[in-house]
């Protein structure tokens, strides 16, 4: 028996990934850095803005949309932001304590652990998005007409962009404390730009432009068009793709496993 036939290697590779997925999923339930904020915050905000929407019905800022309509994309992006900002919490620690280094002495490269964590985070983001869409429409009466192809395109770009930004933080900070500081500041900046306090659709002028072309604002804009059955502006999609490339490049360039 030769253990290194191609078939057996890929079989083992899959088994290794599944084992890592199982462990990362369990750890994410036990220390819900991603689960808590990633699903918890958007769900709480959904309830808040759902009730505001019922109090203040109708057309916001002449956009033709209700409060809950406008906030559905923002809440989705907030979920992705919260999950991305949780990446340093576990990965920087695992690097600082030598866990990633420990893994790298085995036949498995620690990038597989990162991959497993990203898959778990992707599942969490998908769960949050489904809760927001179903909750927003069924419970709070958002008038969504989701265009499936545009929605998939926009969400993939938004998640890739914001997760890459989270990995930039993992790559650049050295300690858990630094990770918390940088992550905290970034979290609130992204939250603001995603329209949590002021919806870009409600305002005009330079601030609106800044928001529409910011990492989280562009994601909100793409999703906003997609959930109302419209093709997102090409500039928005290019903005998202551009940020994704830059963030991914920086993250890969500066990533350290130990």
């Amino acid at each position: 028996m030769t253990p290194s036939t191609a078939g057996e290697r890929s079989h083992r590779s899959l088994a290794q990934l599944l084992a890592l997925l199982k462990v990362q999923a369990k750890l994410n339930l036990r220390e819900p850095y991603a689960l808590g904020p990633g699903v918890g915050i958007p769900v709480i905000l959904l309830v808040v803005f759902g009730f505001i929407s019922k109090q203040v019905p109708g057309n916001v800022g002449n956009s033709g949309l209700t409060v809950i309509d406008l906030y559905v994309p923002t809440l989705m992006v907030i979920s992705v932001i919260a999950i991305a900002i949780s990446l340093p919490a576990t990965l920087v620690r695992d690097r600082e304590t030598g866990w990633l280094r420990r893994i790298s002495t085995t036949p498995v490269h620690p990038s597989r652990l990162l991959g497993a964590q990203l898959i778990v985070d992707l599942v969490l983001a998908a769960v949050a998005v489904v809760i927001i869409i179903v909750g927003g429409t069924v419970i709070f009466g958002a008038h969504l007409q989701v265009s499936i192809p545009f929605f998939i395109l926009s969400s993939v770009l938004a998640i890739a962009e914001i997760f890459s930004l989270g990995l930039v933080v993992v790559a650049l900070v050295r300690t858990q404390i630094q990770g918390q500081l940088v992550g905290g500041v970034l979290f609130f900046a992204l939250l603001f730009l995603s329209g949590l306090w002021v919806q870009p659709a409600q305002i005009s002028g330079p601030l609106q432009t800044v928001m529409w072309y910011s990492p989280s604002g562009a994601a909100v804009r793409a999703l906003l068009y997609s959930v109302f059955n419209t093709r997102p502006p090409v500039t928005t999609l290019l903005t998202l793709a551009g940020y994704t490339l830059v963030f991914a490049f920086v993250a890969i360039r500066y990533f350290r496993w130990e």
Binding site: S4, E31, R101, R102
Partner: protein, 362 residues
């Protein structure tokens, strides 16, 4: 209970030597060579290790590794025979960990070559990782990961792992299988770390500071475990600063100081060759250190209660009695004995740490 090391395994990596099967095979081949080396004083020089006739598991040639301006490995060459327990000893910061990290492929040497069963730790890193188990000096698990889960995870990484349940039993950590890493005691963490290094069923186990932080009982248990690995034909590379550990376990020991290989031999031969003696006595009146250091051969002075213990070379007892007698000091309760590895270690590292000229002599 079936011992862990009975688990049958036929690892046949292409291009790799087949794992030696049993205790008997090793007992017949490796032990005599060890005895041979002990009886041959000429093996004392750092490079005289290739004459053992055993197949080498690891061969290091002219290894150099720098951190900034500091030489962590300065032209280190030696080879480790298959199936032996090889100790690497030296003071803190001597370059022990650097050397083994180059073997496991965690660090890339600046120059020199390393061969692990004919493979390069850099070029063939993934193939080497399949059969080299590593216990890192400082490495934590995620705080909420449970012991059993960590072992299952690591077992899944390897082609021919041991049964995690057996590893748990052999290391007597079955009781903490469901305990999260953050709730483990220091000794338990250490045993988990060893378990993770062994669950992949390695041909070579690199154990860095194996029993640091363990209580005496746990140390003995760990030593017994290493002995069982030896019986199974696993080559063990043991980095330690405990001389008793090296003396008890190791077939051969490499002493490294300031990145240089000082000596390489059996623990007994090193102790004998260093020619260290130890004398304990009670002086009839107080004697200061200066007076004692003036006596020929005296190197280390330790005091406890009325007792003075002097370590050094030559006919220490006679020199001391004579020197003290001229000052009118009587010596009682005199006790003299030959040195052990600990004494040799202190003497050899002192010499190498002083001047370049003395280092050449050592």
């Amino acid at each position: 209970m079936r011992p862990l090391w009975d688990t049958p395994s036929a690892v046949t990596e292409p291009g790799l030597p087949k794992r030696r099967g049993s205790f008997a095979a090793r007992g017949q081949t490796a032990l005599p060579s060890v005895l041979q080396s002990a009886g041959n004083p000429s093996t004392g020089s750092p490079s005289a290790d290739s004459s053992l006739g055993e197949r080498s598991a690891v061969t290091i040639k002219n290894l150099v590794k720098r951190y900034g301006g500091v030489l962590a490995a300065d032209d280190v060459s030696f080879s480790i025979q298959e199936g032996e327990i090889f100790g690497i000893i030296g003071p803190n910061g001597a370059g022990k960990t650097t050397t083994v990290e180059c073997i496991s492929g965690l660090r890339v040497p600046d120059s020199g070559s390393i061969s692990v069963f004919g493979l390069s730790p850099q070029r063939d890193r993934y193939r080497i990782r399949e059969f080299v188990g590593v216990q890192l000096q400082e490495s934590a698990l995620p705080p909420r990961l449970r012991v059993g889960e960590a072992l299952e995870l690591f077992a899944s990484f390897y082609a021919h792992p041991l049964d995690p349940q057996e590893v748990l039993q052999t290391l007597s950590i079955k009781n903490i299988e469901l305990t999260a890493f953050k709730n483990l005691s220091g000794g338990e963490k250490q045993r988990v770390s060893i378990a993770l290094a062994l669950v992949g069923n390695p041909k070579i186990a690199i154990l860095d500071e194996l029993t640091t932080g363990l209580d005496p009982e746990a140390r003995r248990a760990t030593w017994a475990l290493i002995e069982r690995m030896r019986e199974r034909g696993v080559t063990v590379i043991l980095v330690t600063h405990f001389m008793d550990e090296a003396e008890t376990l190791c077939d051969r020991v490499a002493l490294i100081n300031r990145g240089r290989l000082i000596t390489l031999d059996t623990p007994e031969a090193i102790a004998a060759e260093a020619g260290v003696n130890r004398v304990r006595f009670v002086p009839s009146q107080p004697v200061d250190d200066e007076t004692l250091y003036a006596v020929q051969g005296v190197q280390v002075i330790e005091r406890k209660d009325r007792y003075v213990t002097v370590t050094g070379t030559g006919d220490l007892a006679a020199s001391l009695i004579n020197a003290l007698a001229t000052m009118g000091v009587q010596v009682s309760e005199l006790e003299a004995r030959g040195g052990n590895l600990d004494d040799a270690f202190i003497r050899l590292t002192r010499e190498t740490t002083s001047t370049e000229r003395e280092r050449v002599q050592a």
